[in-house]
């Protein structure tokens, strides 16, 4: 991750979203007007409106007195704090026109033909455009021993099927707000969806590298042995037990999982009504999910649903 480039991007987006365009008053130095609300947000309740000059270059900051925004700087911290307080919940949809429908259609027909046992042709009778609701949550996973290592982990769950999947599509392609079009009816409650995500994370953690925990565990055992040696032959066994408990509480390796922010995402479905012409004729529905590239086919009477192989 190129931190410096990302920092600049974050700062300019921050001001842009506030409808404040920084003006480059000298090469590498920008100036922007901070109204009182924003000044207070960044510098506390005593701040007043002012012109704010900033740069990402330490030399320019020294030479011209502009505030330096760089990794670890006070100003970056205040901007990050302001930014991270915002938008903890949002919703967005992925419009159908982000996809080239004829390619999807061709690919699906090809896939269905490939899976048929004898020569068959498929005709598209109709296309319905709908959306599937997903709950997408970004979790902070903290591995805690005497150190703490935090990582972000984002994962989504289909609110109709309960399928848990990472989001393979760039969030930049999504458009804010609910979709214009039918949305599949949600089957899972949000609590169930959240629990599914937690279960999935638990399973993922269980199979990941556990060296960190093993090391912490060994260190903890060594501490416990030392403590036991301190109380050797002592009558103060209650105190020993209490201190052992405190050791475990403080140093036992553990993982805390907490949601940082979440979004309801509406992912488009391409639902085709098809006619199969071969040894027999039949009409059925096939749905293409662009998130997983799966095609789900359903008989007209809904009784003999069949799933084709996923790509």
């Amino acid at each position: 991750m190129n931190v410096d480039k990302n920092i600049a991007e974050l700062v300019f987006t921050f001001f842009r979203l506030l409808r404040k365009e920084p003006l480059e008053i000298r090469r590498g130095i920008w100036q922007v007007f901070l109204d009182e609300a924003l000044a207070k947000e960044l510098d506390g309740w005593r701040a007043k409106e002012r012109l704010f000059q900033f740069t990402f270059d330490r030399k320019l900051a020294d030479a011209y007195g502009a505030e330096l925004i760089t990794s670890g700087s006070y100003r970056l911290d205040t901007i990050l704090q302001a930014v991270q307080k915002q938008a903890l919940l949002s919703r967005a949809h992925l419009p159908h026109d982000r996809f080239h429908e004829p390619s999807i259609r061709a690919s699906m027909v090809q896939r269905l033909s490939g899976s048929a046992q004898y020569p068959t042709r498929f005709y598209v009778l109709n296309l319905e455009r709908s959306f599937s609701p997903y709950l997408w949550i970004v979790f902070q996973i903290s591995r805690i021993t005497h150190h703490r290592r935090d990582t972000l982990y984002s994962i989504s769950v289909h609110l109709c099927t309960g399928r848990v999947t990472p989001l393979p599509i760039s969030t930049q392609l999504f458009v804010g707000g609910p979709p214009f079009g039918p949305v599949q009816r949600r089957v899972l409650s949000y609590k169930q969806a959240y629990n599914k995500l937690c279960r999935h994370i638990g399973e993922e953690l269980a199979v990941q590298d556990q060296t960190w925990a093993e090391e912490a565990h060994e260190a903890l055992e060594a501490e416990q042995r030392k403590l036991a040696s301190f109380f050797e032959g002592s009558m103060r066994q209650d105190e020993l037990a209490a201190r052992q408990r405190a050791l475990v509480e403080n140093y036992a390796p553990r993982v805390l999982v907490q949601p940082m922010r979440g979004a309801l995402l509406y992912v488009p479905n391409f639902c085709y009504k098809l006619m199969e012409v071969g040894q027999t004729e039949r009409v059925f529905h096939a749905t293409y999910d662009p998130l997983t590239h799966e095609v789900t086919s359903t008989e007209r009477d809904q009784s003999s649903a069949k799933r084709s192989s996923s790509s």
């Binding site: 931190v3 609300a37 930049q172």
Partner: protein, 602 residues
Amino acid sequence: MESLFPLTVPLLSGGRELQSDPKPEYSEPISLGKFSVQFSQHGLKRLVQEIRQRRFDDWEWFLLALKGDELSLTERNPTKLLALEHLADLWKKVGVIPYPHQIKTAERAINEMRGQAILADEVGLGKTIEAGLILKEYILRGLVRKCLILTPASLAWQWYSELYEKFNIIAGIQRTKWDWTYSDILIASLDTAKRAEHASIIHEIQYDMLIIDEAHKLRNSSTAAFKFVDRIQKKFCLMLTATPVQNDLKELYNLISLLKPGQLGSYRSFRAKFMQDKRTAKNPEELRTLLSQVLIRNKRGEGTVQFTKRIVHPIVVTLSPAEQDLYNEITAFIRAVARRVGTSSNLILPLITLQREVCSSFFAAGMTLQKMLEKQLPEANPVLVQLLERAVQIRHNSKCDILEQLMATFTDKVIIFTEYRATQDYIRYRLQQAGYTTVGFDGRLSRGKKEWIKQQFANQAQVMVSTETGGEGLNFQFCNTIVNFDLPWNPMRLEQRIGRVHRLGQTRDVHIYNLVTEHTIEEHIMYLLHKKINMFQEIIGELDAILLHLKLDRSFESELMRIFLENDEKEEIRRELDKFGERILQGKQQIRSPIMDLLEEG
């Protein structure tokens, strides 16, 4: 103008929101082999609640916030100390240059010692900086929220300002019982904290970090302070002391067991394995290895830091006959009263003050005479009135004349120290008349004003006239000349004066000008401080420990006063001062224990 800033109510319990929540609700731990996992239930509740209330925010802000999350986590998983990057700008502003040994110490304490360490650097190497750096690092890593700093009461303010100025950590200084619970980072006096009514509250709190300054006071395990600290629940602990051990290996054992019980085993096993007698260690190599796991000691000069020189310039001032007469009369009056009431009387304190003031200026002495008169000392009234009248009549100040001459030789900034505000005002008046720009600095100023005056001095004024009370906690490394207009009687206060400019970060030799009036007590004080114990040129590192060891920490001035009162002749006074000086030097030797070698070579 309408603000466009879309402030929203935080939804999930992430980041700061979680930190502000004292008890985030997590699910029961689920064991996954070597570790357990807990999921935030609190976050779930708020998530569902917010979706139900349809509090959806703008998608672009959401993406930006997400980028912010990523960026702050990139920052939080570093290979080196995060605090160094975070503090770079601040340190540049306030002129702090971290020394390699300080950074190394912080890294060792965090990475190797798991936040449990005794920082036992020699005096002047910046133990407070090291502790502040470690604290800041843990705060940035999200591992410390609640921290208690126990110090001697006199150092609480110094800790506050160091943390604020150098680490941007805003700590509270304990004043009420509520502070224990509600202040996240709290500085408190150990003596106050150990009192039963406070101790009961403190022992209920789970601290993320405990810092104990002057930890050598906890070497004795039978003291109330030791027992009090032993019961504090803490995850990380730093103990700061330049003298973790003095005469007895048991002291070392106690201190380390307080930090990490079991590091040296049980006392019985420690005695059998490591103690030949109480001052001699057995198996020193093994002991050293164990000590190095919890104790860091940096020494001056060994790749750490070289202080610049202190160059002392004694300036002898001869009083005018009128001044000398008045001085002699006031001294005679003090002796007469002191001999009558005895040196242990309460009345002796104003007399000591008067004797010291008369060496400073007659303005300062006049103020005290006035106050004494107002308090109606019945037996002294007629003489006092007479002395006061004489003091008021003196319009000439020989010391200030010399000071003006001296000032003409300086081209750089100067700090002039005096102990008395009356003298301070007079010096400023005289120097301003002579065309110098001056600022005054003393204990009456608020924190903000002190900072402002410091800036004024750095940028505009040539002279700062300061009383000691204003000196603590503020550093003036940009200046390298100090003038002691009068001499404090206590070497600790003298060291504090010099320490304002002669400290880490000073790049030039420091010039110390001492104005000493001939044929006064000041001559003797100068003899003791300069000739006998060489206060000016050497940093007597363990001075506080020496004075404590000799039980002189509170009675240094009284001891000097006793010598002056009990001896009339100059030679007698010198003899007594010689003995006194010897005691201090012996004390220095006594606290220098061979056991310390264990730490140093380790």
